[in-house]
Symmetry: C2
Subunit: 340 residues, 2 copies
DNA sequence: GTATGATGTGTGAGCGATCACACAAAGCTC
DNA sequence: GAGCTTTGTGTGATCGCTCACACATCATAC
């Protein structure tokens, strides 16, 4: 009733001529409220512009209807994409999201970020940390029994997570190139501590070995177009013999295309290039990039769905949800040239 | 003291042999605590793994040390970039961030997003909504006296905001092209309801008029490379006469480059192209893109600094902080060809 | 030696909600 | 119509903290 203050449960109760508990029942959509009482309360809420105080709710209710999210690298296409869809899914389920972005995935900054979130009595935690280093067990230790879902963890790990089947994606790309007759490959990997990058590299090596193809060169980039450019220059300069170049993401492939162009190497006539991710711009590269599409939106949704399920059904089994990537063939790959 | 439960202020107090109030003083870094008492409390906190409950803090303290952020289009380079720096700056100032992303900027979804945030007793609101429609007054109405800062609002508006001087950026680009001898221009604008897009368009029109140059064609894109591609095709097909193409962002410029390439038009020999934003990939376009660099990191920091200042000093004057963009000249622009 | 201020520390109330009850009134059954 | 369940409503305690005090203690001042 105070003049400037935000109205409380009691103000609403007084106005509607009921007890505060009844108002609480209405806003929590519980049973056992007579229809006309409910209507009266609802009217009072609207008239007063009442908004339940989340802080008070989570203090008293011992449950905050809030999810924590740790992110890494949201300036990248994938993570940003996931973030949007996670937020959307959370809000649809009436959960709020509070997030902390880490700039490196050291245990130290991860711990700091998680601490931040744990101050709020979050109901669950979503970890979008595609880098090895902090394991599920580490998280478990910090968070007690709270539900945690990792997005993009070690494939096959016995921990609650949602992942994209990177090995499958790489195999699609490799098969595509092998079918086109390529036998001499070069690779621009992602950073070694990124789980996906590691898996893709290992899978490529294995797939090529199985097909009797050679990996003439393999360098580690940092996901930027810049690194793709420099490493490709380097490989060309060193005279590496390859007809197919596999880049671990589209940006690095973009850099590679530039290096090849500058060197007068025809793509795909002399060298085929494939990327990974299928960022929206990939269609407009010169030439349009053959790449592996990852459904980040689906990945994000998988993760949060799992988390919510776990929160509502505490005995939800620990599992890994897997999404399949798809190959998108465009102009940067072609039949291997007769000789080289 | 309960076994499984998280420790509270009282548990810490008991262990340290002081009153709960003293513990509160320690965690809030207030004066008037003896050094050895403080040390004893700190030890107890560490031993118990005590973490103050933010919900209780904001309930009792009437102030949440939490900022709300409304975002739009965080899958785009600029907004994502800002988000990272905003989060970082907030955390550095010991504020938590809770955010809501809107997928359209109708009053309806904006209101819903803000409502979500207001449930938390946020201390301030940051609106990264680069689209016209929701004005500062609308926000004011929803939020009462709470500090609000808009990022990317109408330039010159009498509202608390941080912006990049789009007009300046466009003038830099226009002057650059005019100096190179260009007199016949084409434009691919951004969506009309985006404030920046509107300003850039108006400024370009004015700048060209002042220089006696013509705008042969101007079409509205949707920021995607795809739209840039299609609209350029369209202009070429229609036989528009221009030697310089100004795109409202780098992605649309990328699409334009593709359309020109397909048509066999040399860039920059026959047509010069400039973009806007300077995304990291722009260097590796074919040819490398001349563009206007926006310092999104700075913009984000400006916004949050302003907001924090306002929170701490309520009589902070209403103003608009402006950051200047810079022209980055690369290979996509050149001297106008002799004739055309 | 009493007044005055700075420095420490403890007590009670209350933030705005939820939970666990208690209890009244109605609708069944037999 | 006694006894039960279902439905609807209200009361007290409590969540974990901060606020506004009250109250010591010690130094310095006059």
């Amino acid at each position: 009733m105070s003049p400037r203050q935000r109205p409380t449960l009691h103000d609403v109760a007084e106005r509607a001529g009921v007890s505060y508990q009844t108002v609480s029942r209405v806003i929590n959509q519980q049973r056992y409220v007579a229809d006309d009482t409910r209507a009266r309360v609802l009217t009072a809420i609207a008239e007063l512009g009442f908004r339940p105080n989340r802080a008070a709710q989570s203090l008293a209710g011992n449950r905050s209807r809030t999810l924590g999210m740790i992110t890494f690298g949201i300036n990248q296409y994938g993570p940003a994409q996931m973030m949007i869809h996670i937020e959307q899914a959370a809000r649809a389920a009436k959960y709020d999201l509070i997030f902390a972005n880490v700039n490196d995935t050291s245990m130290l900054s991860m711990r700091a970020a998680i601490e931040t979130l744990l101050h709020w009595q979050i109901d669950g935690l979503l970890c979008v940390t595609p880098v090895a280093g902090v394991t599920y067990d580490d998280l478990r230790l910090l968070c007690g029994a709270m539900p945690i879902v990792q997005i993009g963890s070690q494939p096959g790990a016995e921990s609650p997570s949602a992942v994209i089947d990177q090995a499958h994606g790489v195999r699609l790309a490799a098969e595509h190139l092998l079918t086109l007759g390529h036998r001499q490959f070069a690779e621009i990997r992602g950073p070694a501590d990124w789980i996906d990058a590691h898996v893709r590299h290992e899978t490529l090596v294995a797939a090529l070995a199985a097909a009797g193809a050679t990996l003439a060169a393999s360098h580690e980039g940092d996901w930027t177009a810049d690194s793709g450019y420099r490493l490709t220059q380097q490989m060309l300069h060193a005279g590496a013999a390859f007809t197919a170049l596999v880049a671990a993401n589209d940006q690095m492939a973009l850099g590679a295309l530039m290096a090849l162009r500058e060197r007068g190497v025809g793509v795909p006539e002399q060298i085929s290039v494939v990327g990974y991710d299928d960022i929206p711009e990939a269609v407009y590269f010169a030439p349009p990039l053959t790449t592996v599409r990852q459904n980040f939106a689906q990945l994000g949704r998988d993760g949060i769905e799992y988390l919510l399920e776990w929160i509502h059904t505490p005995d939800t089994p620990i599992m890994q949800r897997t999404t399949q990537p798809a190959l998108v063939v465009r102009g940067s790959t072609g039949v291997v040239s007769a000789e080289r």
